[in-house]
């Protein structure tokens, strides 16, 4: 292991460029003679569109075109893609509405695009958008997850006669209920997993240009990898040959799941560029980002667990309501099943399980993947149940977990929904966290807080993730004549630091200088055919191993060239530290690379150059896990809460770069802190978004957190050759239940048994007030 190899805390090579204004985000890209788009958005959550009058807008200065949903239908455009296909137990297929790029007859959420204006300047486009007149017949709307399936709730899609998308079930309900009834102790939780605004720093943006002569379209957009967007645009929406559509993301200011999706505005910008044969650009502002970026989470979970007298859980029943919004986004409906479902009951060995999921339509923007994508929700359910179980049985919170953990002896362990956990030291990881947080010394600190009139609490959460989503990915490695290495990746670094980590791997496997490795990604013209992008904490495995295998292919070919040059047999050539050796003679990889470009030096019939493409494919994901501990203090008079200490112990397998993984832990924990304390999407009864700006939507800030102590318990994954487990989403799984556990601990002596996220000061204060009233009575 050298200074730049695997496991070294190498500083990120991309940061100087990004921190000195050298980034090239989509809004930094200006196309020659570009014109500008603006969108007319629905002010109503549910309304018939009676008429759209674009006449006034069309006649305004600088206006080039105005398009409505009908124009897109007339142009033969396709519909938005959704591949989910669930079936009710009755055999009835799921309700699956077709989503047009812009609706024609009815709008179903506030912020939906209903018309697009293209003009010479952004101001002219916005002025004209305001001049588009739409007549509506406003209909009753439903936004609430709790009430979405009520009998009297307005139907988002009247043709289905219900808001239920599908009732998906796993397990035998009657059997599980009978077993619950027979248990020594049953605990139940009823939890709201609050809806969140994902808030990447970069608002959504798109620019497109069309070359009439070649019929080639280029689309610039923030993304998490362009290949999927290219395929969707080409095949389903614009109906073009994929090779005629190129998607480019130079830099992207945060993905978090929602930037991997196709949005109507992107399609519209591409459509307008093609139709007008002029470059078209649109940059959404922050307000548009609030109403039209997909939101995250939004579940209600009622769960029940049955335990024996010793605290061993044997039965679990989980009933989930999921708000998918007005349409089916690409992945939203899948999250409880394929996101959280694959790991639930999480770290615990619970043999009997019934799981019911009811996704529902409401008059809101769709929900979709957000950091963790179903796994934070699943872990939150299990951790709240474990705390409830501990309280019911008078066990400590660590002991009840210890008694229910899946052990290493049980691995490989098949989960209910068919995933196989290969590795993990759950008890050891938890113990590291307990030790680091001085768990046993807590009572002294609680007593000290009490002298100041404050309630102190400590909370524990353990969690497991599933990472590596859809594990197939291409990687190409090319040696230049000067010995430098260029990587062409289908993964796409939008904050994760791939430039650094992949260069470390090239250095590790080939001995090439860290600074002589260049990563090219974010462009479908150069990325490998078999590429999916970066999401689901997958790049360490699919990209990292891609680099490893490409390096192996380079060495295999290089060995033959070296043997030829050293006049020996390839079998006698050994590669180590960047040098090919055969007994006393040797030649460096750089020399071999240079020779590979010279036909005179190459073995006969061998292609010139060192340029190898590989496809990594795995049939299993990996399972990062961890234990987080949060200690906090509550001012009972105001309900204000302050986090005093936070310990995160993560098992993300072999750590390629601890500096970068710590960054992932900090970021994930902060997003979890946001969900637990400050972030909450609020719609009113008419479906108007009330939390529609950062004046009303509370982002977590640096002042909300002390320094996070991040530690690793390295248990290499057994199912991939780097031993890595994805690190990107773990923090968001651990923080919410750890914080709730701490608040529960602080308030439990007052008799507070239930509280939901986000823990606003008023909510905490009210819980204390109500408990005091009950205690007094």
């Amino acid at each position: 292991m050298g200074e730049f190899g695997i496991g070294q805390p190498v500083r990120r090579k991309e940061d100087v460029r990004l921190l000195t204004g050298g980034g090239q985000f989509t809004d930094d890209i200006d196309l020659e003679a570009q014109v500008y788009a603006a969108f007319v958005r629905s002010p109503h959550a549910n309304a018939k569109i009676l008429a759209i009058d674009t006449l006034a807008a069309r006649s305004m200065e600088g206006v080039i075109a105005v398009y409505t949903g009908q124009d897109l239908v007339d142009a033969g455009m396709g519909v938005m893609v959704n591949e989910a296909n669930y079936v009710n137990r009755s055999g009835k297929p799921m309700n699956k509405p077709s989503r047009r790029i812009m609706p024609v007859e009815q709008t179903r959420f506030v912020g939906e695009c209903l018309a697009m204006v293209v003009a010479d300047t952004p101001e002219q486009a916005r002025d004209a958008a305001e001049a588009v007149e739409i007549d509506y017949d406003v209909l009753p709307a439903i936004a609430s997850t709790a009430r979405g399936l009520d009998k009297d709730a307005p139907h988002v899609w009247p043709e289905f006669g219900e808001n239920l998308v599908v009732h998906w079930e796993y397990g035998d309900k009657d059997d599980v209920e009978a077993k619950l009834a027979a248990c020594h102790t049953r605990v139940k939780v009823d939890l709201v997993n609050n809806r969140l605004i994902v808030s990447p720093m970069e608002p959504r943006c798109a620019a497109a240009e069309y070359d009439t002569a070649s019929g080639a379209l280029t689309v610039y957009t923030p993304s998490q990898g362009g290949r999927r967007l290219q395929m969707m645009l080409a095949r389903g929406l614009l109906k073009m040959a994929p090779e005629k559509v190129r998607v480019i993301s130079r830099d992207t200011g945060g993905g978090f799941g929602i930037r991997s999706k196709m949005y109507p505005e992107t399609v519209m910008v591409a459509f307008a560029a093609r139709t007008l044969a002029r470059p078209v650009k649109w940059r959404g502002d922050r307000s548009e980002t609030f109403v039209s970026d997909y939101h995250g989470r939004d579940q209600i979970n009622v769960a029940e667990m049955g335990l024996d007298a010793h605290g061993r859980a044997s039965v679990l029943k989980v009933e989930t309501l999921l708000n998918v919004g007005a349409y089916l986004s690409e992945n939203g409906v899948r999250l409880p099943m394929e996101g959280g479902g694959r790991i639930i009951p999480c770290m615990y060995d619970i043999p009997d399980f019934y799981f019911s999921v009811k996704p529902m339509f409401t008059n809101t923007i769709c929900t979709d993947t957000y950091r963790g994508a179903g796994r934070p929700e699943a872990n939150y359910i299990m951790e709240r149940l474990m705390d409830a179980g501990a309280q019911a049985l008078g066990l400590s919170r660590e002991e009840i977990r210890r008694r229910n953990f899946i052990t290493e002896a049980q691995m490989p362990y098949k989960t209910h929904l068919g995933f196989v956990l290969d590795s993990g030291d759950f008890d050891g990881t938890m113990q590291m966290a307990l030790d680091a947080a001085d768990w046993t010394g807590f009572e002294t600190r609680r007593a000290e807080s009490a002298t100041r009139g404050n309630l102190r609490g400590i909370g524990l959460a353990t969690f497991i993730e599933g990472a590596g989503s859809r594990p197939i990915e291409g990687m190409r490695m090319r040696f230049e004549a000067n010995g430098e290495v260029t990587l062409f990746a289908g993964t796409y670094s939008h904050g994760q630091g791939h430039d650094t980590v992949y260069a470390q791997l090239v250095n590790e496997f080939l001995g090439v200088d860290f600074d002589k490795v260049t990563l090219i990604d974010g462009d479908t013209a150069t990325s490998p055919e078999t590429s999916n992008g970066t999401f689901g904490s997958r790049s360490s495995m699919v990209g990292g191993i891609g680099v490893k295998r490409a390096a192996e292919a380079i060495v295999a070919k290089g060995r033959k060239i070296a043997a030829h040059l050293l006049q020996t047999d390839a079998e006698r050539v050994v590669f180590e530290g960047g040098v090919f050796r055969a007994q006393s003679s040797s030649i460096t990889l750089a020399e071999v690379a240079a020779a590979s470009h010279d036909a005179k030096k190459m073995p006969e019939g061998m292609a010139l150059g060192l340029d190898e493409s590989v496809v990594y494919e795995n049939d299993v994901e990996n399972f990062p896990n961890g234990a987080h501990i949060c200690e906090l203090e509550i001012d009972p008079e105001t309900g204000i809460l302050e986090i005093l200490n936070y310990v995160a112990v993560d098992d993300c397998g072999v750590v390629l770069n601890p500096f970068i993984v710590h960054g992932q832990v900090y970021g994930g924990v902060m997003q979890g802190v946001g969900q637990a304390l400050t972030e909450n999407v609020v719609y009113d009864a008419d479906g108007q978004l009330l939390s529609a700006s950062y004046m009303d939507y509370g982002m977590p800030r640096a002042a909300h957190m002390p320094m996070i102590e991040a530690l690793f318990n390295v248990v290499p994954a057994k199912t991939n050759e780097l031993g890595v487990k994805g690190a990107g989403e773990a923090g968001a799984c651990g923080a919410p239940p750890a914080i709730l556990s701490a608040v529960g601990d602080a308030l439990s002596r007052l008799g507070v048994s239930h509280i939901d996220m986000p823990l606003t000061p008023e909510k905490v204060w009210r819980a204390i007030q109500e408990a005091r009233v009950v205690t007094a009575a």
Binding site: S287, T678, Y694, G698, E762
Partner: protein
């Protein structure tokens, strides 16, 4: 943002002349509220009259028993002024906790006071510290100045030139910050002037207001216990998606008591 005509006023008289001569003008002070409003196309004034170049509207002085803050003085200047810190530390502390550093370096006292945002901090200082709002036309007691939600006594063509705070024997400002915006959900200024007391509350109602019952109790006995059990009725307060009126009412009592605690040590 819609188009508008931009004017840079040379002095107060020039600004007043331009106000009178244009259709639908707005005065631009620090722009901390006005500029986001324009950017979001929620307002479309015909003309913006920028007061930033008027040297006479900047600066701070202590004159007898008054701290005088001229209208275009940014919050950060008030917060760090040695004169204010010495004569009226509660005002320096209040100014130093408005918004964030960017807001404190651009936002001005005149702009804040003229806007009468229900959640702004300065109205509590004006009313709690018995200030006089001086305009190009007259002097207005703070008690008469703030009239309602974004409503003040300012007439058309009237420009705030300075705010004159009465220096108390002692004063303290305590606030509960909005978790998203940082504005005051409840801000309480308590001040003592000889046998008189003032308690001004911002953030909780549609407009800054005084709590007469607390003032009377403090005038009898200036102790935390005097206000600890005085409740403000929630009926006159605001409730929104963040904090109910009932919670705001509760916080007024808590923060008033804590302010007095901090004052009496």
């Amino acid at each position: 943002m819609h188009n508008f005509n931009y004017h840079r006023a040379a002095d107060v008289a020039d600004a007043a002349a331009k106000l009178a001569a244009t259709d639908d003008p707005k005065l631009l002070a620090g722009g901390m509220t006005l500029l986001p409003t324009l950017k979001n196309r929620l307002a479309a004034p015909s003309d913006l009259i920028d007061l930033a170049a008027i040297a006479g509207l900047k600066g701070i002085s202590v004159e007898g028993k008054e701290v005088v803050v001229r209208a275009m003085t940014p919050h950060a200047v008030v917060a760090t002024s040695a004169d204010v810190q010495k004569a009226l530390p509660a005002l320096a502390q209040l100014a130093g906790n408005i918004g964030d550093p960017a807001v404190r370096h651009r936002g001005t006292i005149g702009g804040s006071v003229a806007n009468s945002d229900p959640a702004a901090d300065y109205p509590a200082a004006c009313v709690g510290l018995d200030a006089t709002i001086v305009t190009n036309q007259r002097k207005i007691a703070a008690d008469d100045f703030f009239q309602g939600l974004f409503e003040t006594a300012l007439g058309h063509g009237e420009i705030i030139t300075e705010v004159r705070f009465q220096i108390p024997d002692r004063a303290q400002y305590m606030k509960f910050r909005h978790p998203a915006s940082g504005y005051a959900v409840v801000g309480v200024m308590v001040a003592q002037y000889g046998s008189k007391a003032r308690v001004a509350v911002t953030g909780a109602g549609p407009c800054v207001f005084r709590v007469a019952e607390m003032e009377a109790a403090l005038e009898k006995s200036f102790t935390p216990a005097s206000v600890a059990n005085i409740k403000v009725s929630a009926e006159q307060l605001m409730g929104d998606i963040h904090c109910s009126a009932e919670y705001r009412a509760h916080l007024i009592t808590v923060y008033a008591r804590r302010a007095v605690e901090a004052m009496v040590g």
